[in-house]
Amino acid sequence: MSTVQSPTLSTADILAIAQSDATQRYDNLERYRIEIFRDEDGWHVEYEIQQPKDPKVRVAGGGPHYVIDPVDGRITSKKYYQ
């Protein structure tokens, strides 16, 4: 007997879900580096401040971190860092 697996969303879909929420909370998302990885609890999408090349200049700050369900695209956890 075969089992039927639920289709999972693509990484593009996951990014779009995160981006849709992030743009409502953060002004300029171009300043962020986006990390996306799959963990046991779902897709993690984490926006981290992109640091200047000059090692004597650093930006303190934060972006949103999400955990997103791989099947239905629901955001199961979000943290808005500042």
């Binding site: 909370r25 300029n28 700050g61 860092y81 500042q82």
Partner: protein, 133 residues
């Protein structure tokens, strides 16, 4: 700087005044004007006197630090900045991963001033539980 020294530094009148000024200038209660403020705590080595160097105002969720060019009579002790967005708006007051990595990279103590607590990040990037403001 260890945690006890950092807590003692927080109680210094110059530092307390700097933290209060930064918080006031952050307009935490104004949805439009709210932004991060911060600066440097500088030690005059010979006298032991502390001075403050402010950075330019930041955005709602970031502030840029420029490592100061200091002569040998001065030492950079710590940096500080505010997290003015209240938790009830969904943003968490705790230091961000970038906040912690700056302390690690520059081997500096950092203070993060939030609405009801001041977090201390040690030079290893570890955050102490928030000190009540």
């Amino acid at each position: 700087m260890d945690l006890i020294s950092a807590r003692r530094l927080m109680e210094h009148p110059t530092v307390k005044a700097a933290f209060e000024a930064a918080w006031a200038d952050s307009f935490a209660e104004d949805e439009v004007l709210r932004h991060e403020e911060g600066g440097w705590i500088i030690l005059e080595n010979a006298s032991g006197m502390l001075t403050i160097r402010r950075e330019l105002p930041g955005t709602r969720n970031s502030i840029t630090f420029h490592y100061p060019d200091l002569d040998s009579s001065l030492s950079a002790l710590a940096i500080y900045h505010t997290h003015p967005t209240p938790p009830e708006l969904g943003e968490i007051p705790d230091p961000s991963p970038a906040d912690r990595s700056i302390s690690r990279e520059w081997k500096l103590t950092s203070f993060v001033i939030a609405e009801s607590a001041i977090f201390i990040i040690n030079p290893l990037g570890t955050v102490s539980s928030g000190e009540v403001r």
